[in-house]
């Protein structure tokens, strides 16, 4: 009976760890951004677009949030905050790269 209790507690702890959205924030401004050429900037913008979608997918009605809602509802708030931060950092980096791309490449292609 007691062993079952510990197994359940251990399972619950593991679940709490695996159910959390991880910190996937990116550095908004990087040292070599200004020295990148148009191709590199375009490639980075494309990959950031995919990353932004991934970050957005961690928010809302996701499997992790539904499960957390059943076992530990405050976890949903923590997850939502983290996914918002992840998406916001990617968004800021897109804006930063876009600015450099506009100055450097638009009208010169």
């Amino acid at each position: 009976m007691m062993n079952k209790k510990y197994a359940l507690a251990a399972f619950f702890s593991l679940f709490m760890f695996s159910g959390c959205v991880s910190d996937q924030q990116v550095m908004v401004a990087q040292y070599d951004d200004e020295s990148k050429n148009c191709e590199q900037l375009k490639y980075e913008l494309n990959s950031l677009g995919a990353k932004f979608e991934d970050a957005k997918d961690d928010s809302g009605l996701t499997g992790k949030n539904v499960a957390l809602g059943i076992f530990f509802w405050p976890g949903i708030i923590v997850n939502e905050n983290q996914s918002k931060k992840n998406a916001s950092s990617v968004n800021d980096r897109i804006a930063h790269i876009n600015k450099i791309y506009s100055n450097k490449c638009i009208g010169k292609e």
Binding site: M2, K5, Y6, L8, A9, A10, F12, S13, M16, F17, C20, D23, Q25, M27, V28, A29, Q30, Y31, D32, F72, P74, G75, I76, I77, V78, N81, K85, S88, S89, D92
Partner: protein, 171 residues
Amino acid sequence: MYWKGITSFLYKKGWLIPAFFLFLTSCATNSSNEVINKTAFNQNFSIEKVVVNDLTNNPMGSIDIQNRMQISIENEITSRQFNKQDNLQYSLIVNIRQYEEGSAFLRWVIPGMGETFLNIETILLDENNNPVSQLRTSRTIQGGGGYTAGAWKRVFDSVAKRLISDILTAK
């Protein structure tokens, strides 16, 4: 012996295991360090100048976060004696990207709400202003009650501590 006591207490109180893990994860510091110029990074250097920029787009905030960050980093540099004059003189450019003051009361009432959060990006420059390393450091206080009161200012010291230790340990 100390840890044995804690683990045996948690074992006896099975339900406390998840609570203990929740307590551990409620305050987290994350960081990354990308060394750009390994040769320059491995030299004996000191931090001579720290420039902090507030890029949070929140000029109406009641706290002078730029000044607080500056003081915390400079204190950490002094306490670790990372400012010896006979070494090469490098500088740190610190950009504060996000800061949320949060509220200990809200964290106590609803775990996950009232989060305190600080996120900075740093570039370490050598004597000729060439980049040596770039770092991202952030700290989040998501849960807890009264013992997290004052986290809004302690967060600057925690982040400064992690930033300087990241630079020192990577050497």
